[in-house]
Symmetry: C2
Subunit: 353 residues, 2 copies
């Protein structure tokens, strides 16, 4: 293997690339005939097809896609615009998009937008939009994503992926608010007087997770405690957990995602209290490490890769000019593990008083 690499490297960037003209000459056919065997657009006699194939192999010919795209006015690239690429939900969604794009012979191009300023967004996506694109997927999980959505030229097929529905847009979503409601109900059913909520950075005024939580609380007539705001960094949960652990009224906490929940639990444990004996904590997303956590996390399974796949399908529909569905929603699944339990007796007594 090492040897092969050593042999190979000196050859790099050497031989001038051959063109379709060279291939045609070598095979003794016309240029369009070569093009025909390349694209399979029209029938070619067996003899000529074989000659062309041989010429292609002999000359190590690889067609220039620039020329190809220019001449055929057909692109096979899907651009993905996202505010992040390495956090679990983002990475999984992108994986889903890439996976199904590859199956359909599309290639995926990734661009990260970090700002919500139009100028900066335009600069970030300019190089991408200059490509001959078949369509664009925007991950509308966060403010930069939302902002980017409105900078995509109307001439491009577009699909938005996110947890919150937005009217008039081709969109694939995860029905987070209902799942959050179900999770909050689970905590309430356990006997907790109310459920505190640690929010992830919201993409709009209010997230689906927060909305569902609030809805469940109101429906059940429970008090709606003040929100705590975390960042995307799991460590931001530690301080919040420590603070909440000091308040004896807090017996149940619903965190906007599993990483934050892990930070919050860490903070609670650091403060000398126990999960779930003193305080129940639930997350959201079913991060791959959620089941391994101590204690294993009660959470909601979000199929991000599936979200990506569904979104790409919607986009492909639009590209194909089909009038099919413009919207695809899926209900995440509640997963009850060990981090949630009934409130401690002392808390029950306190509640009764």
């Amino acid at each position: 293997m090492t040897l092969a690499a050593e042999v190979r490297v000196p050859m790099r960037s050497q031989r001038k690339a051959s063109t379709i003209v060279d291939v045609a000459a070598y095979a003794g056919v016309s240029v369009p005939t070569v093009s025909r065997v390349l694209t399979g657009a029209a029938k070619v006699s067996d003899a000529k097809r074989d000659a062309v194939r041989a010429a292609i192999a002999a000359l190590d010919f690889r067609p220039s896609s620039a020329a190809r795209v220019l001449a055929s006015r057909k692109a096979e690239v899907i651009a993905v615009i996202a505010g992040d690429t390495s956090t679990y939900g983002y990475a999984e969604t992108i994986r889903g998009i890439e996976e199904s794009a590859r199956a359909e012979n599309y290639t995926v191009m990734i661009t990260v937008v970090e700002s919500t300023e139009d100028d900066e967004i335009d600069r970030a996506i300019a190089a991408t939009l200059a490509q001959p694109l078949a369509g664009v997927c925007v991950l509308k999980f966060d403010p930069p994503g939302v902002a980017a959505l409105h900078r995509i030229p109307p001439s491009l097929p577009l699909v938005a992926l996110s947890g919150v529905r937005e009217a008039g847009l081709r969109q694939a979503v995860l029905d987070e608010s209902h799942a959050a409601e179900e999770l909050t109900d689970h905590l309430l059913d356990l006997g907790h007087a109310t459920v505190h909520h640690v929010r992830i950075p919201p993409s709009r005024r209010e997230d689906g997770r927060t909305t569902g939580w609030r809805r469940a609380l109101k429906r059940r007539g429970a008090a709606v405690p003040p929100l705590a705001d975390a960042t995307w960094d799991p460590r931001s949960g530690i301080e919040i957990g420590r603070r909440l652990a000091e308040d004896p009224a807090v017996t149940a906490i619903f965190c906007g995602n599993d990483e934050i929940a892990m930070g919050v639990i860490r903070g609670i444990v650091t403060a000398g209290r126990s999960v779930p004996d003193d305080i129940s904590v639930a997350g959201f997303d079913d991060h791959p490490l959620a089941a391994l956590w101590t204690p294993p996390l009660t959470t909601v399974d979000q199929d991000f890769a599936g979200l990506g796949r569904r979104g790409l399908q919607l986009l492909l529909n639009e590209i194909a000019g089909e009038t099919g569905r413009r919207f695809s929603s899926e209900r995440p699944q509640l997963i009850v593990r060990d981090s949630t339990a009934p409130p401690p007796p002392t808390a029950e007594v306190r509640r009764i008083n």
Copy 2:
């Protein structure tokens, strides 16, 4: 926001994209002049430049990169070939690549290879290689990555990113073997008779992490216990941890990455033993959750994003035809937390016997 989307959508796919000819006509200049303000290749009078800019804005003109690439024979897309995109190390590396590519006005294209079969690899990367590429980054972390490396046409600028050095290749690496050696030494220094190793799927015959571990053990005259093999799924560590916990001779375990370490710890705890009181466990990578784990994980900080940045820089050098460095290495940093401690007294006694 919702309103804006509703207004916007009906306009989608309408207006035909304008070309450089339209811009030239609108601005009252020649086509080459428009090209000059686009590329900045030659001086243009202020008046004409402003007129062209105004025309570009008015017509919402975005140059076709296909035509641009074809005419200039210069590409601005970097392809990244990887065996995975969502696992921590991969995602972070890709983030580093994307980040610095964007800073240099390159766009990043991602392709996942899942097989080590030449045919399947060729099929997976065909769509990508058909694009007009400036260069290719291969994440050589795993067997598919290694295999893909040898399917990239020699005419393309190439850089490999990985933990293991390979001669003759333009490459950015993390010096994992020395870091692994340091980590093993740390465990030995704590008083453990030897250190067990749970290996991640190796990209070649032997990984840098495994090599460093073995080297430290031999240098210190410690026994080299049999390897345990984990998969990339953290859950694969659970069973391994449970099994290792049953062997009283096991007092220290070095796991190939943090996720596996988390699984192994879970298995040990499930088996009723304690970390680090009974058994010390160390990971590798400094995963964002490693510090939050119970107990916080001793590990090695790997700067994956930095690896991506360094790799891209190397690639850019090659694209620019510079004869600069072909190799970039960085030493990861040992981070001692609470999951490693001296062996329990019983084990010491056992060792003395």
